[in-house]
């Protein structure tokens, strides 16, 4: 199997990024020159040389403009060293001075002592400020990150009618805080990985120790350690690197912008993977059933939640099968349509130049074009697409006799059903499958649809997400978990965590019967 080895990942770590474990020297100017050379003398590197107040000790700070909160540096570092009147007992000896600065004078909270150029460059690039003291081969790396951030806003891609309005932002620290505010449990863990040969981004794996099955954490960490690429701009890169099957149309990890959704998943015994620079957080493992759940199912009363669930399952079937079933019935099995409907379909199709199959492909393809065009255009122009699409496709095409009106209804219903699914990634997956099923039904009729359905099922039961079967709790069957599957039973019934996740702590609530 040559192609398999071709596709297999090369797991050997081959880090080509340079390693500057060069020791610092004692001379201040030399040190600064080295730093400038390393970074290529950038414009935004700020170096400020000065003296400790009332002494001859030369020192300097260096930082990259824009990454640093200058207000903080001035208040917590500069003002003490330059302005404090009562700097009386400044030792003459360099090393002693260095210690005094660290122990007594500097009031910045996160200060580290470093000795290599490598540590120094990492620090300055991540927004720290470097404090040099002339005559010492050691520096302070002061955490002073303070760049422009987006405010916490309502998530754009997942809107709810009822539920928290907070969404993740690009800053990973803010995101961690958001999760911490939901789960104030000492067992909440955040494990940090560095991702990207050159980007060196922070990636944080979050889970609740004592709830999650340890094998899942271990497996996720193992897979994350294999990541070796220049940059991971989005969690999508991480997802594609560590997912179980890259040939599957189904998303094996969920992504979300909602901290409430992440918190709920963590408490079910799943891990969340956060990456610096993106508001999308991965949730793994994920099952097919999870993809059809929305946080709102739980926020509304259980009758409403159950109704929405049932509706969503119907929508999922419509999104995958409706055009295919229409094509099969109209071109292979006209006897299966109720008589009156059959006559009216036949009448509406008179004079249409295409076979139902070609018509369906054409219309579904057009639908994809419209959807893509609408998503890419700026919001103000985006609405035009809807109007143009609706008018041109819906009305003019029918009047011109290019497509039958019933086909327009079928495709529109199909599109609406696929948009009503809570996760964009699963909706897109279903649209891919739709075309496969459509082609099968165009060739083999209902028989083809059934073949396709069986194939999808075979694939789903084989698929795993971080080792958890994608089809669970349908198969492997955990009947207890079915109470949160097709319907959503009252909250008081959910006293146990989902069994299919094999949580360490099984109980999640106590209704008070003992």
């Amino acid at each position: 199997m040559r192609w398999r080895s071709f596709l297999q990942r090369n797991n050997t770590k081959n880090n080509q990024a340079e390693n500057f474990s060069i020791e610092l020297v004692k001379d201040l100017n030399e040190n600064i020159k080295n730093l400038e050379n390393l970074l290529g003398k950038p414009d935004d590197l700020v170096v400020r040389k000065f003296r400790v107040r009332g002494t001859n000790h030369r020192c300097a700070i260096a930082y990259i403009e824009g990454l640093v909160d200058t207000q903080y540096i001035r208040n917590q570092v500069m003002s003490h060293i330059q302005l404090d009147e009562d700097l009386n007992q400044i030792p003459d000896q360099k090393q002693a001075l260095f210690e005094t600065l660290y122990e007594e004078i500097m009031s910045a909270t996160a200060v580290k002592k470093k000795k290599t150029l490598d540590d120094l460059s990492k620090g300055i690039l991540s927004g720290s400020t470097i404090f040099y003291l002339d005559g010492l081969a050691e520096v302070f790396v002061i955490s002073s990150q303070g760049w422009e951030k987006r405010q916490i806003q309502e998530p754009v891609s997942e809107t709810l009618i009822r539920g928290p309005r907070e969404g993740f932002v690009e800053n990973i620290r803010t995101n961690i805080v958001l999760i911490r505010r939901y789960i104030q449990d000492p067992n909440l863990r955040f494990e940090t990985h560095k991702v990207g040969r050159r980007s060196k981004k922070n990636l944080v794996v979050s889970y609740v120790d004592g709830v999650i099955h340890p094998d899942i954490v271990q497996e996720v960490n193992r897979r994350l350690q294999t990541i070796d690429m220049d940059d991971a701009p989005e969690t999508g890169f991480i997802e594609q690197w560590i997912e179980d099957s890259f040939l599957s149309p189904f998303p094996q990890m969920m992504n979300t912008e909602r901290p409430d959704k992440v918190a709920a998943s963590l408490l079910q015994g799943k891990v969340a993977i956060l990456l610096d620079g993106t508001p999308f957080v991965l949730i793994a493992p994920t099952t097919l059933g999870n993809s059809l759940q929305s946080p709102e199912d739980y926020y509304e009363r259980w009758t409403v939640g159950s109704l929405l669930r049932v509706l969503r399952y119907i929508a999922a079937f419509i999104a995958v099968f409706l055009p295919a079933v229409y094509v099969a019935l109209v071109s292979f099995h006209p006897g299966m349509i109720p008589s009156d409907l059959a006559f009216s379909i036949a009448a509406s199709r008179e004079g249409v130049p295409f076979t139902p199959f070609v018509e369906a492909l054409l219309m579904s393809g057009t639908m994809e074009l419209l959807r893509e065009a609408g998503a890419r255009l700026p919001k103000t122009i985006g609405q035009t697409i809807g109007i143009v699409g609706g008018l041109v496709i819906g009305d003019a095409a029918v009047r011109a006799g290019v497509v039958s009106p019933i086909m327009v209804i079928v495709v529109a219903l199909n599109a609406i059903a696929s948009f009503s699914l809570p996760a964009y990634s699963i909706a897109i997956a279903f649209r891919i499958i739709l075309f496969g099923i459509l082609i099968l039904s165009g060739i083999l009729g209902l028989y083809g649809i059934i073949l396709g359905y069986i194939m999808i099922n075979i694939h789903i039961v084989n698929l795993k997400s971080i080792g958890v079967p994608y089809s669970t709790p349908y198969a492997p069957t955990f009947y207890r978990d079915w109470m949160d599957l097709f319907v959503r039973l009252p909250i008081t019934v959910f006293t146990k965590r989902p069994k299919y996740m094999k949580p360490m702590d099984k109980s999640s609530a106590n209704k008070g019967d003992h």
Binding site: F332, A342, G442
Partner: protein, 394 residues
């Protein structure tokens, strides 16, 4: 290896794509047969009499409401007639005369002319195709026409799109009366044909520009031929014995004034005692509940004695209705159309085996059986009001 894989997958794909689509035919290319009418043909030269088959095709564009005004009142059907010996052959011949492929999935109605039905053994032969063919549903309604079957399909219906659907909905909607035979579907017909039972099929006739369902055609089981007709009066009795009624009225006279009893629910129980095969005892017990629908007199009905009298009158008229049809069946048509044979078969199978051949035919044991009728009428209510007029002048 890769080449082998490629050639294998090529073969598999070829298999699918070459054999695929063989049934593919868009819906607008089909001619939907919605009704079939069978008449006796003109040609009597060959041994089996020739048959004329008239198929009614739906014309889909006639079914839609024109979207923009305009007098697009297109006829929603098209009749095609072919004459021949084999119904199957004639159906296939039909394709020569139309541009559309005939399909029978939506066939709703079969009309057989009484002339054809009266021919010896012809009936089961002409309906054979409709029971045997794989495209046929088991729920096709079957009727007998008094005049030629084709004439039923030539009526221009006022409220329905095509004559076949018109007759079909007449058959579907006749639940509020006991003067018509309940519709017969091919599944039930098939059972009766296999059991060699006698059966009744509703009759339709052309009345001006309308079609009317009235009475039933009586078929003799063993020789499979129409032997007589039930009129409206006899149909009432027939339906009462069958007991599948949830509506209908019975007229009777009380104090020389007309009164109408509305049936709401009936149940009939038939008890058969075949101790003596030459004189089978059949007891029919009918329980009816209903109300007073209309009265011409002006007596108050809130009077137990009067109600008793009314009940008795109803019982009398019911028993008269039943005895009338029973005696006609025994003496005139000499066939058991009431399904007593099925009852015998299921509850007295031992005895039945001995007399099976002699029930409708042979010794004609049915005609010799003794049939008793008893009825029990309940007056559920007397209507919304006791009286609608004053007592008048005494």
């Amino acid at each position: 290896m890769a080449r082998r894989l490629l050639s294998c997958s090529f073969l598999v794909l070829t298999m699918i794509f070459l054999s695929g689509c063989w049934d593919e035919n868009p819906i607008e290319n089909f001619g939907f047969v919605i009704g079939s009418a069978l008449d006796l043909g003109e040609d009597h030269s060959s041994e089996t009499p020739s048959v004329t088959l008239t198929n009614q095709f739906a014309v889909p564009s006639g079914f839609t409401v024109p979207s923009q005004g305009g007098g697009g009142n297109q006829q929603a059907y098209k009749n095609l007639s072919v004459t021949g010996n084999s119904v199957f052959h004639m159906n296939r011949d039909m394709s020569k005369e139309t541009s559309l492929t005939p399909i029978y999935d939506h066939l709703k109605l079969i009309v057989v002319s009484s002339e054809l039905a009266q021919q010896e053994k012809m009936f089961s032969s002409v309906v054979d195709f409709f029971l045997r063919d794989h495209e046929m549903r088991r729920g096709i309604r079957i009727v007998v026409s008094e005049s030629s079957a084709k004439s039923i399909f030539d009526i221009v219906p006022k409220y329905e799109k095509t004559p076949a659907l018109y007759v079909n909905s007449i058959m579907k909607n006749n639940t509020k009366t006991i003067e018509v035979i309940p519709s017969v579907r091919t599944a039930k017909l098939h059972r009766d044909l296999l059991n060699k039972s006698s059966f009744v099929i509703p009759i339709v006739k052309v009345k001006g520009e309308e079609i009317k369902s009235e009475g039933g055609a009586i078929f003799n089981g063993p020789n499979n031929k129409m032997v007589g007709k039930l009129n409206a009066f006899e149909t009432k009795g027939y339906n009462l014995i069958k007991g599948k009624i949830n509506g209908g009225v019975i007229n009777f006279q009380v104090d020389d004034q007309l009164m109408v009893y509305e049936i709401e629910d009936t149940s009939s129980k038939v008890k058969i005692n075949p101790e003596n095969p030459d004189q089978v005892k059949i007891d029919i017990k009918i329980e009816i509940s209903g109300s007073v629908g209309e009265m011409f007199g002006h007596k108050t009905l809130i009077n137990e004695d009067y109600q008793k009298e009314i009940k008795q009158k109803i019982e009398e008229s019911i028993e008269e209705l039943i005895m009338n049809v029973v005696s006609k069946a025994q003496q005139e048509w000499k066939v058991d159309i009431f399904g007593f044979d099925q009852k015998l078969k299921s509850s007295h199978s031992g005895k039945w085996r001995g007399m099976e051949g002699d029930w409708n035919a042979g010794k004609q044991l049915f005609t010799k059986s003794v049939i008793n009728v008893s009825s029990q009428v309940t007056l559920e209510h007397i209507g919304s009001t006791d009286r609608t007029k004053d007592r008048g002048v005494k």
